[in-house]
C-alpha cells in the first residue's frame, strides 16, 4: 500500500496560501472589502511596501487586526461581529455612508467566499435555498453590484468533491455576471467573455486535474502551460 497521498491532496494550497496568492493582486493604495470567513485571511498577507485600506460594512474604513484579548472594545467590531482595531487614518461612519461607498463604486475591490461561481460570472454565496434555512443576506448583494472588482476566494470543490465552478449556479444568485477572478486551492481562474480561463495552477497541479474538477469548460490561458 502506498504511503504517498494523492498528488492533489499533497499539492493543493492551504487557506493561508490561497490568501497570500490573492493578496499579491491587490494594488498599493486600494480600498478593499474582504468577505467574512476565508477572505479575511488576505489582510495578513498584503505584500511588504503596499498600503491597503480595509472597509467593513458596519462603518469603519482602516480596519486593523484583532485586538489583544484584554483590549477588546465591544463597540469596535467588523461585519462578522468580531472585535477589531482601527488603524491610524481610520474613520467611522453610519450605515448609509458605508453603503454609499459600496454601492457608489468607491471601493476598488472585494474578495468574497462562494458556494458556486458560474462561467458567466454569476455568484451564489448567500443561501442554500433549503426550506428550513433562516434567510439572511447581509451586504453580499450590495457588494457584488457596487464594488468595481469582485473576486472570489474558495476551495475548488466542496468537501464531498462537488465542483464549485459550474456552468450555471444551482443555488440562489447573489448577483449576475459579477465575478472576474477566482482563487482556489488548485488554481487561479479568470471569468472571461468565453467562460473560465485558467491563469495559473498551484505547483504540481496540472491543467487536466483542474479541468476535471471544474464543471464547465476551462480554457488554458496560462503564460507558461505544463511542459
Amino acid at each position: 500500500m502506498s504511503t504517498q497521498p494523492p498528488a492533489l491532496l499533497r499539492d493543493r494550497l492551504t487557506r493561508e496560501q490561497i490568501a497570500a496568492r490573492a493578496a499579491q493582486d491587490i494594488a498599493d493604495g486600494s480600498y478593499v472589502n474582504l468577505g467574512i470567513g476565508m477572505p479575511e485571511l488576505i489582510a495578513q498577507f498584503v505584500p511588504e511596501g503596499r498600503e491597503i485600506v480595509l472597509h467593513t460594512e458596519n462603518g469603519l474604513l482602516g480596519m486593523g487586526p484583532a485586538p489583544a484579548p484584554d483590549a477588546v472594545d465591544p463597540e469596535l467590531i467588523n461585519a462578522g461581529k468580531k472585535p477589531v482595531t482601527a488603524n491610524p487614518g481610520a474613520s467611522y461612519f453610519h450605515h448609509a455612508d458605508s453603503f454609499a461607498m459600496v454601492r457608489g463604486g468607491h471601493l476598488d475591490l472585494c474578495v468574497l467566499g462562494a458556494m458556486e461561481v458560474a462561467a458567466n460570472g454569476d455568484l451564489a454565496n448567500w443561501s442554500t435555498g433549503r426550506a428550513d434555512a433562516i434567510p439572511a443576506v447581509g451586504g453580499a448583494m450590495d457588494l457584488v453590484s457596487g464594488v468595481r472588482a469582485v473576486r472570489v476566494m474558495t476551495t475548488h470543490c466542496t468537501r464531498d468533491g462537488t465542483p464549485k465552478l459550474v456552468e450555471k449556479c444551482s443555488y440562489p444568485l447573489t448577483g449576475e455576471g459579477v465575478v472576474s477572478r477566482i482563487y482556489t486551492d488548485l488554481a487561479v481562474v479568470d471569468v472571461t467573455a468565453e467562460g473560465f480561463a485558467l491563469i495559473e495552477t498551484a505547483a504540481g497541479v496540472t491543467f487536466e486535474e483542474v479541468a476535471a474538477r471544474t464543471a464547465a469548460p476551462l480554457r488554458d490561458a496560462r503564460s507558461r502551460p505544463d511542459a
Partner: protein, 236 residues
C-alpha cells in the same frame, strides 16, 4: 426652552402603542439600545413591526423582545445569529414575518425615509430572488429595482454623548444605523452615556443634529449586549 430630556427609559417608551413600527439601532451587539429595548419589554406593547439589521443576540434586548412574543414582523438583512436561536425558533414556528432586505438597500431605504424620498432605483439584488415582485427598470443598460423608503413611528437609538437639544455623538462602530434611524422615525428616543447642557458638544463634531431627536434618556453606564450575551444573561 428646548429640553428633550426624559427622566427614565420607562417614561421614554411609555406611549409606544400596540402595532407600532419601531426601528432599533445596532449591528450585531454594537450600538444596541439595550436599556430602551428592555423598557419596551416591560412596557408590554405587542404586534410590533421591528426594523433592525439583525434579530437579536443571546436572550436579551431584541432577542428577548421577540421571545416575549411582541414582534409580529422583522424587516432586516441578517436575522441569523451564531449566539441566539430565538428568531430561528419563532420563525420556524411561523409566528413571525420576515422581510429580508440587502443591507445597503435597508440603509438607503431608511435614509430615504428620513430625507423625504419615497422610493429609489438600485441595481442591488437585480436578477436575484429578492427582486421578486419588484418593479424593474433599466438605466445605462443595467437592470435596477424600485425600492420604497422606510419610515417608522419610533426609533430607539444608542448614542455616546448627547445634549438637551438631542445633538448626538456616537462611539466607533456602535454608530451604524443610529443616525439614519433617528432621521426616519416620527419619534426618536435616544439613550446616551452622557447628557449635558447645550454647548457641551462642539458643533463640528455633532454627528446627528438634534432636529432628528425627540427624547433623550441618560443611561450613564449602559450594559453592553456583548457582555450580557457572554454572561448568558436572560431578560426579563
Amino acid at each position: 426652552m428646548i429640553d428633550k430630556r426624559v427622566a427614565s427609559a420607562a417614561e421614554a417608551v411609555a406611549d409606544i402603542a400596540d402595532g407600532a413600527t419601531v426601528m432599533i439601532g445596532g449591528f450585531g451587539e454594537a450600538g444596541s439600545p439595550i436599556e430602551l429595548v428592555h423598557a419596551l419589554i416591560d412596557h408590554g406593547a405587542s404586534e410590533l413591526t421591528v426594523i433592525s439589521n439583525n434579530a437579536g443576540n443571546g436572550q436579551v434586548g431584541l432577542a428577548a423582545l421577540i421571545r416575549c412574543g411582541r414582534v409580529a414582523k422583522i424587516v432586516g438583512s441578517y436575522p441569523r445569529s451564531s449566539n441566539s436561536t430565538v428568531f430561528a425558533d419563532v420563525y420556524r414556528a411561523g409566528r413571525i414575518e420576515l422581510e429580508l432586505v440587502p443591507q445597503g438597500t435597508l440603509a438607503e431605504r431608511i435614509r430615504a425615509g428620513g430625507a423625504g424620498i419615497p422610493a429609489f432605483y438600485t441595481p442591488t439584488a437585480a436578477g436575484t430572488e429578492l427582486a421578486d415582485g419588484k418593479e424593474q427598470r433599466e438605466f445605462g443598460g443595467r437592470p435596477h429595482l424600485l425600492e420604497h423608503a422606510l419610515t417608522a413611528d419610533w426609533a430607539l437609538v444608542k448614542a455616546h454623548a448627547a445634549d438637551w437639544h438631542g445633538n448626538l455623538r456616537f462611539n466607533k462602530t456602535a454608530r451604524n444605523f443610529g443616525p439614519i434611524m433617528a432621521m426616519a422615525a416620527s419619534t426618536t428616543v435616544v439613550q446616551a452615556s452622557s447628557v449635558d447642557a447645550p454647548g457641551s458638544l462642539d458643533p463640528e463634531t455633532v454627528v446627528t443634529p438634534g432636529i432628528f431627536v425627540n427624547r433623550v434618556v441618560h443611561v450613564a453606564d449602559p450594559a453592553q449586549e456583548f457582555d450580557l450575551v457572554a454572561q448568558g444573561a436572560h431578560y426579563p
